[in-house]
């Protein structure tokens, strides 16, 4: 038996920082951190020096001053006397509107095209391929500009609706006007409205919430809750007796009757657009710039989504479908219960990055004069105040926040549908 001896206690030497793998990683990290901090300090000190030289200290006071410009497409009320911060907020909402609309349409069109590309109809599959390749290989900026040009050139001006010999007419029984200034659709009006709640007083992010909308949502929520109760009862009955009671008419009733009662009580009616003076008045006006941007972004992104969907469907082996039908599942259920859950797992991650891209590409709105956050905060506000540093940094921060939030939500969803691996 050999006797165990303690290994000789090593003295710490400076060279061990480099040669000993235990310390080396710490050394590298410290060097990297110091290097990064030096770089940051260098940039900040340069910026301070430069700004002093220009006589433009960093300050955000200008945000409180009146913006002095008007914004046409806006969700909340805004006048040219409102502050720059309010204008930026209006722009942010516009960015979010086009991003959300774009993501929804891009997904629908993308899934549709992706499935049709696998169609056994030769012609349809080819047309979809042409569509995908055309949109993927031409810059999105060009598509946005083109979409705007097509809308402007091909649609009739409001003037064309006027007079005896009008060359254009409204669609859908005179309820929708499609013009080259945008689309006017009927708006929801309540003659016995409950009024609005004013939030945040007079600050820049003030907004009103319609009590009608809240009432509607409460009723809708209640109906859905009741519907779930009913279907739970039906399931329980099926478990105990073997017969599933017919409930679809009850469900429909629960969903629609309270809603209709509420709408009648509130005096719901539609406000139709009418040609008055230079423009259509009344109704909801979706500006051309919004439609062009929305169309171009969603068609462009849909081309990428179509490829993802196609790859996702192709990735599911045929055996899955066969096994499902061997179990006696109907095709619809096969799709819903077997194919889609698996395909989604492949589809979701690249889809997230496409949603992110769409949101970021919406910053090209300035090309068509849609007043998103780049157009207000990074556009007119920056031009008029000359505060480039503050505006650009704030702009980046806003986009970063949006992007990280989308990633976070999508990652959460992705983790939920992820396969639990053993």
């Amino acid at each position: 038996m050999t006797t165990l001896t303690d290994p000789p206690k090593e003295q710490f030497r400076l060279s061990m920082l480099l040669y000993d793998t235990r310390y080396r990683s710490a050394t590298i990290q410290v060097i990297a951190l110091i290097g990064f901090m030096l770089l940051a300090a260098w940039i900040i000190s340069n910026t301070i020096q430069n700004l002093e030289g220009l006589g433009k200290p960093v300050e955000f006071g200008f945000f409180g001053e009146p913006a002095s410009y008007d914004i046409n497409q806006r969700l909340l009320e805004y006048t040219s006397r409102d502050s720059h911060l309010r204008a930026a907020f209006i722009g942010l909402l516009n960015t979010l509107v086009v991003a959300v609309l774009g993501c929804i349409t891009a997904t629908i069109v993308g899934v549709f095209v992706g499935v049709l590309r696998l169609s056994n109809n030769w012609l349809v599959a080819r047309i979809m391929t042409v569509y995908v390749e055309m949109f993927r290989n031409v810059p999105v900026l060009l598509w946005i500009v083109l979409a705007m040009a097509i809308l402007i050139e091909s649609l009739p001006a409001p003037r064309a609706f006027r007079g005896e010999d009008a060359t254009a007419s409204m669609n859908f029984f005179d309820t929708v006007a499609v013009t080259n200034r945008g689309v006017y659709i009927p708006e929801f009006l309540f003659s016995r409205s409950l009024g609005d709640i004013h939030l945040f007083g007079t600050s820049s992010i003030r907004f009103d919430i319609s009590l009608d909308l809240i009432a509607f949502l409460i009723v809708l929520g209640g109906s859905i809750f009741a519907m779930r109760k009913v279907s739970a009862w039906a399931a329980a009955t099926q478990e105990s007796t073997g017969d599933r009671p017919k409930i679809w008419h009850i469900q429909l009733g629960i969903l629609f009757v309270p809603m209709i009662i509420l709408l009648v009580a509130l005096g719901f009616h539609l406000g139709y657009p009418e040609l008055k003076g230079f423009n259509f008045k009344g109704g909801t006006h979706m500006r051309n710039s919004l439609i062009a941007l929305w169309l171009a972004l969603s068609l462009y992104t849909a081309a990428f989504i179509a490829e993802i969907v196609r790859a996702g469907i192709l990735a599911i082996s045929k055996g899955q479908t066969e096994a499902a039908s061997a179990l006696g599942l109907r095709p619809g259920r096969t799709m819903r219960l077997v194919i889609l859950p698996q395909a989604l797992r492949v589809i979701i991650p690249p889809m997230i990055s496409n949603y992110l891209n769409l949101t970021k590409n919406s910053s090209l709105a300035i090309a068509v004069g849609y007043m998103d956050i780049t157009g207000t905060l990074g556009g007119i506000t920056m031009n008029q105040t000359g505060r480039e540093l503050e505006c650009v940094l704030l702009l980046m921060l806003v986009y970063l926040t949006i992007s990280l939030s989308i990633s976070a939500v999508m990652n959460w969803y992705n983790n939920r549908v992820k396969l639990v691996e053993r």
């Binding site: 109809n121 012609l123 031409v138």
Partner: protein, 434 residues
Amino acid sequence: MSDVSFVRTEMLPEQAPPASEVGIVGWIRHNLFSGWFNSILTVLSLYAIWYVLSGVLPWTFQSVWNANSLNECREIMIATWGSTHGHACWAVINDRWLQLLFGFYPSHLYWRPILALILLLVALAPVLYSDRVPTKMLIVTALYPFLMPFLMWGGTIWGPIAAALGFVVGWGVYTIVSKQLSGLFGIVLGIAASIIWWLVLSSYFVGALDSILPIGIEAVQSRQFGGFMLAILLGVVAIGVSLPIGIVLALGRQSDLLIVKYLCVGFIEFIRGVPLITLLFVASLLLNLFLPPGTNFDIILRVMIMMTLFSAAYMAEVIRGGLAALPRGQYEGADSLGLNYWQAQRLIIMPQALKISIPGIVSTFIGIFKDTTLVSIIGLFDVIGLASAIRADTAWNGIYWELFAFIAALFFVVCFSMSRYSMYLERKLQTGHR
């Protein structure tokens, strides 16, 4: 049991399949009209095709090619067809296509960007078609980063030579020091020596040699770059320079060193979280503020810097994907051979990871290449910027479809061929790994 009924002993001659199942008719039945739903789809598609083509084809081909202004175009149209609607005025392309391609690059020097483009293809050949092109061609690839700026910007030949010498100096210091002391010291000192050479010594070197032996070609200001050439240049520079940065970032993101990892993740997520246009705003408005007072870069160079940082973040993600796709056994195998981290990366991991990443790199390139059109928003004369300038010209005021169609066609041809190449490569790589 002898009354065996009739048993056929010879085969019946094969009958031809029904006429409706073969040939063109059969094909059409199977692929276009295999059910009521498919038939409707087919009819709808045919209508859509007819609708688009009936508008586009006459416009494209019943067109005016020779005119000096839009009004002249309109006069010719009215003289020929009686109306100005539905006819293209390609004369604007005929008049300005060189400008749309090269920007304001001096016309007697057009051979230089063309040569640079050809050399680019030659330099890429050993990488992209590694199985068909001799490896010796890699020399061109190695020289290209120095040759391309020389061709594009011109000036003295000593500039690119000095830049290349920086690498030689760094390598020399590394080999000497690593023999004497240690590898890590060698790397640090080698990099330091290169940086000192580039920042301090090379300017004297260039100045001295240029005064002794002034060899060079006509210098071209980067302000004169423009048009489609600018898009290609920005794309190639951004991707070329961001490749090494992306590798470092990807390795950093995967490493166990916590601080390094978070620095890399922070950079990548920041760049990927903001739109390119805000980075271009930084290039055009803020970059000068971040540098020492008095520094003044050319706007094209500033845009190149920001585009490089932008593509580096995306490149890092592509390469991270490549690294993740490598089987774990490769890492373990490298470890078991006793290779250290850098040796393992250089000899085992990177060659494979990069090879898998090439399709991803090509798609990143296509993306960056398309995104270069954004520089028109900050006032550079790329194709779209030039199109705006042409539209502002009194001669061509009011024209747009023709210019957009031309630009779209340019981008489509380049991007489509690249994406096809990338798909070919993906197929090739897939068979290699299964």
